[in-house]
């Protein structure tokens, strides 16, 4: 497989010592009828080879938009990347011309989506959709590409790959479809895989299968994995580090063990507490009051302050809290992280 990789030209300016993926102060806006929606407001994180970074957050926190911005597949307009960098091995992808950018996709950075049924084109066979990658990026013949497609389906443990390659997405079960998605993402042997809620639409037993498969493939290939999810359970199982996003910002970043043991941001803390737990049965669940802010109208200061029990005056005023370094490899954007940690 590495021989195929050799066919892709190295990007100019590649720095082998730089992190695999580094996002700096990314800002994305959407121009809508209701005004400018600030979907991402300065997201920053990095990823090393072989590492699993979980981006955790609720819907509308900007995690999917961030992922799409990294991939360069945001629909512009309405979306506009107003600021920031997306560095892959030190190269700022945002500054690359579109043609080169396109070569990065699938070759270097690949992505899988939440709902495999709608993410796969319903009118083409999965074989076609897999083979397409080899034909477009590798210029393979139809037959060779088809062969590779079968191999890929085999690799993601789809039984009877040879015959199923002719089937259409709707003829697969949810789990199998997600396997196809994974096969598609891994086809060109990328170094970074972004998985956007890969198991949310699946049943728990299938979810376990898929997460297992992903972990295995990541290990095999020493890929960097960005796992976007809202499920604290899944994260606890697979992530090395966690970035928690709220209203377009990374509010806390920490190694997985630390964050579950002692969350450093009130939002992370509240999220953890709102999961139903055995020892709290019969009691009310701890809830985060109110709603996430509308992206067109993000509160001044810390965006979380209207829902935060620690909020005091400084939280309500700009500028937003900086990323306080609260421990080695840990940051939190909360003025009162000590109180949060200390409780």
């Amino acid at each position: 497989m590495t021989d195929i990789k050799g066919q892709v030209d190295a990007l100019p300016g590649t720095d082998p010592r730089a992190p695999l993926l580094q996002i700096n102060d990314l800002h994305v806006e959407f121009h809508t009828r209701d005004g400018v929606a600030k979907a991402v407001n300065g997201a920053s994180f990095w990823l090393n080879p072989g590492e699993t970074l979980a981006i955790l957050g609720e819907s509308g926190c900007g995690k999917s938009v961030t992922a799409q911005a990294i991939m360069g597949i945001l629909e512009t307009p309405p979306a506009h990347i107003t600021q920031g960098e997306v560095r892959y091995r030190g190269v700022d992808l945002l500054k690359l011309p579109e043609a080169q950018r396109r070569k990065v996709r699938a070759n270097r950075i690949a992505m899988i989506f939440q709902d495999a049924l709608s993410a796969l084109n319903p009118v083409y066979s999965v074989g076609f959709q897999l083979a397409e990658l080899f034909r477009v990026h590798r210029g393979m013949s139809r037959g060779d590409a088809r062969k590779r497609a079968v191999e890929l389906l085999d690799q993601v443990r789809i039984p009877g790959a040879k015959s199923r390659v002719h089937d259409y997405p709707h003829q697969f079960s949810g789990g199998m479809r997600q396997r196809v998605m994974i096969a598609m993402a891994l086809a060109l042997d990328p170094e970074v895989l972004i998985a956007d809620e890969p198991t949310t639409a699946l049943d728990v037993t299938v979810q376990a299968q898929i997460m297992g498969l992903l972990a295995e493939l990541r290990r095999e290939r020493n890929m960097g994995l960005v796992l976007i999810t809202h499920d604290m359970g899944v994260v606890a199982d697979v992530a090395d580090r966690i970035s928690v996003m709220y209203a377009g910002r990374v509010v806390e970043e920490a190694p997985v063990y630390d964050i579950y043991a002692r969350p450093g941001h009130p939002y992370t803390r509240a999220l953890l507490e709102s999961i139903p737990r055995l020892d709290l049965k019969g009691q009310q669940l701890s809830v985060i009051q109110g709603l996430p802010p509308a992206l067109t109208d993000i509160p001044a200061g810390c965006a979380f302050h209207p829902r935060c029990r620690y909020a005091k005056d400084p939280c309500r005023q700009d500028p937003a809290p900086p990323a306080y370094s609260i421990a080695p490899h840990r940051t939190a954007r909360c003025h009162f992280f000590r109180e949060v940690l200390g409780e």
């Binding site: 799409q68 991939m71 597949i73 396109r102 070569k103 990065v104 996709r105 699938a106 070759n107 690949a110 992505m111 989506f113 709902d115 709608s118 993410a119 796969l120 084109n121 319903p122 009118v123 083409y124 066979s125 397409e132 990658l133 477009v136 990026h137 259409y168 709707h170 003829q171 998605m181 598609m184």
Partner: protein, 308 residues
């Protein structure tokens, strides 16, 4: 699948009889004096009148006339027109050119509508989009009675790009001008539907996937989006094809094409019951077959659709 087709064919037979009945009834209601209609403004002698009345059962009641017609039809005899011509022959003379004309018109319309529709969907809100919107609305508002002679005047008589008239044996190029005129009548809606459908599909998740695969925008649009967007367009094209075949009356007259529309118009004006019913019945059958083909095409375009 097979059972589905058989069921559709059976329904087709029922529809066919329904259509003959409705049209026959309409023709009967319209029957004043077909014999005089045949003779134009010249007088018809009583004797001729009596003989023709008897020959075409004109003095019979509606059920009897219908019965005579159906009897003939079921034995494969489409009867004779009032002018004494064999209707079967007339049909086989008129159909090919009309089929050719409407197929060409549909191809022209679909090509333009789909290309422009996709384009304006991609650039929605842009200049191209807005100007096509205006153009299509204008096309919608200008009736074909205006469009056809004006096109003939400009492109045939002034510019001499196309022949002014064609015949039953016309080649594709000869038919191009009338086909374009005909296409204008259906292009507008097809374009709108294509545009809407493409816009919808552009938002679909699989487009995101395709782009994440590093495909060029062109490939994303014309390979991935287009096929998904074509389904509602195909339905429309099916309906349009039927309408074009019967609706070609004016175009056929202006460009002197002795096709179905022309024969229908003549038959209707001449109160020629058997002629009109014959043509309409075949029209309905063709229409239904086209619909069936369209439905099967669905399945071709969208593997999720299966017929039972």
């Amino acid at each position: 699948m097979f059972r589905y087709i058989v069921r559709r064919l059976l329904q087709m037979i029922l529809t066919f009889f329904g259509a003959t009945f409705v049209v026959f009834a309409l023709m009967f209601a319209n029957q004043d004096d077909p014999i005089q209609a045949l003779a134009g403004e010249k007088p018809v002698s009583d004797n001729v009148r009596a003989v023709l009345t008897e020959r075409y059962h004109l003095d019979e009641s509606f059920p009897v006339q219908y019965w005579y017609y159906m009897k003939g039809l079921l034995t494969g005899d489409l009867g004779r027109s009032m002018a004494g011509r064999d209707i079967g022959e007339m049909l086989s003379g008129a159909w090919p050119v009309t089929l050719k004309l409407s197929a060409l018109a549909i191809v022209v319309a679909a090509l333009i509508a789909i290309t422009a529709g996709v384009w304006s969907a991609i650039r929605r809100g842009g200049f191209f989009d807005n100007s096509t919107l205006l153009m299509t609305l204008l096309l919608l508002a200008v009736p074909i009675v205006v469009l056809a002679p004006v096109a003939q005047l400009v492109f045939a008589m002034e510019l001499r790009w196309f022949p002014a008239t064609t015949t039953a044996r016309a080649g594709l190029y000869d038919l191009l001008l009338p086909a374009v005129v005909l296409a204008c009548s259906v292009m507008a809606t097809q374009l709108r539907v294509t545009r809407t459908s493409v816009v919808e599909n552009l938002r679909a998740d699989y487009v995101r996937t395709a782009r994440a695969k590093g495909l060029t925008p062109r490939r994303v649009t014309w390979v991935h989006v287009l096929r998904n967007s074509l389904i509602p367009v195909i339905t429309l094209i099916g309906v349009d094809l039927g309408m074009l075949m019967s609706g070609a009356i004016i175009v056929e007259e202006v460009f002197n094409i002795p096709g179905v529309g022309f024969n229908l118009a003549r038959g209707i004006r001449a109160e020629d019951g058997p002629l009109v019913v014959g043509f309409v019945s075949v029209l309905v059958v063709v229409f239904l077959v086209v619909n069936l083909v369209v439905d099967l095409l669905y399945a071709a375009l969208d593997p999720r659709i299966r017929y039972e």
